[in-house]
Symmetry: C2
Subunit: 458 residues, 2 copies
């Protein structure tokens, strides 16, 4: 059992803080089960659900953590007679109890330990939700909370929004691996190879560190497809390669970085122009990060910088502020400027806007804001991404309905000169600090000149 | 949409053969849904369920193939308004119908197209099983067939047991990639690195080919743990590194190979002795493969070779045939000699022994046979692994209950000399041919001298 990433005091402290918020209200936190790959018996590697991992620190399959209102217990299936043969020696319940600092009991005893009104949070996997439903006698499913679950959700949101010492160390470890992986990807680029070859270089760096990816890597010459998970295209000389990839540490902490590299080693003048627009947006949004800043403002700052840039390049005309507020900029920058990062890459996403929007704030229906995943006031210890982009998406720009808002402010004759730019995004993971912010990926080249120099050096 | 791996005529022929077997009995084949990773919204890459993939050839998420009794139809969710933005342009239903050679309709129309008594097979994921249950008005869950489903299961078993031209091409492609990946792993070995570094070299070769793994790679200096998925140990000079890893092609075909390499580049005399025992068992079992051979016999052939070898080394004494039949050999070789390979690495495993044991045969309770996954008579076009092993598993050898059967035939004083061997397994994927067999991994070094030569050459 690999305990190298386990931080016992941090977990004990987190449980203590959660218990203080819950008081005598019981709560059940499930670790979940392995997900099936090809068949129900061929499984993906197990990774505990993040709420469980936050509180107990270990990937204990099918474990359940229980707050009885008076103390913590962990319930685990009894290992079968051949478990040691197939999956190696596992600590007994007594030894595991020592490791966790919590008494460990057999799952068979869970039902009788449950009190009425026990709160829970839906597991990511439906199989475990079905078991939670049976245990608690009510329907538990992903994305749905009952009233009794809300205080538990809100307490965990409050805790997990602001990372503790161990969490920050995990995020730094993830960021460092992510930076190294991107550097390997950059080194692998050459004309004529498939996208998958660059992906292999990136992910090998993570696997070698005994990590995994925090999400399915995007490594694509079609950066205009925002969640493009294909990797079969061949890199051509004039292409930009958009790489959005991040590490997940053994302890579960996520990294998330995007770079957009020129396959040839040199940006064309048009690519450089648009790249610099996106970089100016990212730089301005990062610069604004400090305690007390409302995250939503970063969206406006980035969008305004893109408006200014596109007007400067003659692609848009008109008043930049109106181009943002009318949703014209959103034709090119149709997604949110970022999200929380933690034990999930879109941290707390399982709890939706309840977690990521401050109480009283709801998601806007504006084209430039509807995809924004986060609107809280920043606090030291929060980690967020900043990831503006600029894309020529045919499904948007060729749609008269979507582009109607632009009227004559979109200069298609001028835009045609930029046809060698399909999609650019630049993203770092940023920690909010007491006096501002700390870019956890600061070492990874980002300016066009720095990227070109790094590519020449390979 | 990557169609490079799609074989339209092969899929059409398979559907035709299945339809001929089903006649007017309707059947529903689900592709399944992406499995959640950390949260229910962060997903593993989608991979269609194998029965669907066999018949339709493409990874169409949430698709359902329907045999109405008269013709084939495919049902798919209507893409949302922003689908092209997030996941790129997808062919419309009409265009996809051309690609598939089957009419494609919206999932909303599936319920009304269903006839009473429609058969199905449980999807690997519970989420899709729940949807199947709703559609068909009865409980569908993994590992469980209703009477109405049995003819469908049996028809697909009959087809998928014997690979067609396209299937064999897919298996060869997977085997070739698997061989190349193992060769990269061997090149990466050096004292002092972590297991994960070797794993990274292996998997990078697969990812670069736009493939994935067909199961979670085992890369372990603790080969005595049969399904060891930890990769955090450091390679030491006297260790053997057991690597069990395989490719899955873009079209879903699996490779599966095990090698056991000496970290130092040289097997110790004791390691060499036991390695040669396992290799002799594997060689003998492979040599026996030909049409008409009962697969169960390979277990006996391999076990007998291990008995002979262990007696020859003085670790066991007594009559080799009795050592096999009494279960003494199973103390060292406690698993089955192999399994089917196809679109799943344990092919047809979702249908259990119904698929992998011939009608009328049931699984033995003998220690040496109870873990055997396959007992059919071999037919040209079948693909199987042959993977004997020899392990010192503390949970077995230190258990007086389990070892009682050996009586004085286990010479522990002699066994003590072999303490630098924790686990050895050697595995290839073998295609049954008209005149015998074809080892799909024949190019990968296997003899100790060949492995040592390959390691010297790196």
């Amino acid at each position: 059992m690999d305990l190298s990433f386990y931080d016992k005091p941090a977990c004990a402290e987190r449980r203590g803080r959660l218990a203080a918020r819950l008081g005598n209200r019981p709560a059940l936190i499930a670790a979940g089960a392995s997900r099936p790959r090809g068949t129900h018996r061929g499984l993906h590697p197990f990774r505990a659900a993040s709420h469980f991992l936050y509180l107990f620190g270990l990937h204990l399959e099918k474990a359940v953590g229980l707050w009885t209102g008076e103390g913590w217990q962990v319930f685990l299936p009894e290992p079968g007679p051949d478990a040691a043969l197939w999956t190696g020696p596992v600590p007994g319940f007594a030894e595991l109890g020592e490791i966790l600092g919590v008494s460990v009991l057999a799952t068979a005893k869970l039902q009788e330990a449950l009190k009425p009104g026990t709160a829970t949070l839906p597991s990511p996997d439906v199989e475990t939700c079905v078991e939670q439903s049976t245990l608690l006698g009510r329907e538990i499913r992903p994305g749905k909370l009952a009233a009794v679950d809300e205080p538990l959700a809100d307490a965990l949101i409050e805790l997990r929004l602001v990372h503790d010492r161990a969490g920050i160390a995990g995020l730094r470890e993830a960021a460092q691996a992510t930076t190294a992986a991107h550097a390997e990807g950059l080194r692998a680029i050459r004309t004529g190879i498939r996208e998958s070859v660059v992906r292999a270089a990136i992910e090998a760096e993570l696997v070698a560190r005994n990590m995994t990816t925090s999400f399915n890597s995007i490594v694509s010459v079609h950066g205009e497809v925002l969640h493009n998970e294909d990797h079969h295209f061949t890199l051509a000389d004039g292409d930009l390669l958009l790489v959005d990839a991040g590490a997940e540490t053994a302890g579960g902490w996520a990294g998330d970085v995007t770079r957009t590299w020129p396959v040839s080693g040199h940006y064309s003048p048009t690519q450089r122009d648009l790249y610099d627009v996106v970089l100016s947006a990212q730089t301005a949004a990062i610069a604004a990060i400090k305690p007390g800043r409302r995250y939503l403002e970063l969206q406006g700052i980035a969008a305004r910088a893109i408006a200014d840039g596109l007007v400067g390049l003659g692609i848009l005309r008109g008043d930049p502020a109106e181009l943002v507020s009318d949703g014209v900029v959103a034709l090119f920058f149709p997604h949110g400027v970022g999200h929380l990062v933690g034990l999930d890459v879109h941290d707390l996403d399982d709890l939706g806007d309840r977690a990521t929007y401050a109480p009283g704030r709801t998601r806007s229906t504006d084209p430039g804001l509807k995809a924004l995943r986060l609107d809280r006031d920043l606090v030291p210890g929060m980690a967020v991404t900043v990831e503006p982009g600029c894309y020529q998406v045919p499904a948007i720009l060729d749609d008269p309905e979507r582009t109607r808002v632009a009227k004559d402010r979109l200069r298609r004759d001028r835009l045609a000169a930029f046809r060698d730019v399909r999609g650019i995004r630049i993203e770092d993971t940023i920690l909010v600090t007491a006096d501002g912010h700390d870019n956890l990926n600061a070492e990874l080249p980002k300016a066009t000149s720095a990227i070109e120099a790094a590519m020449r050096a390979t």
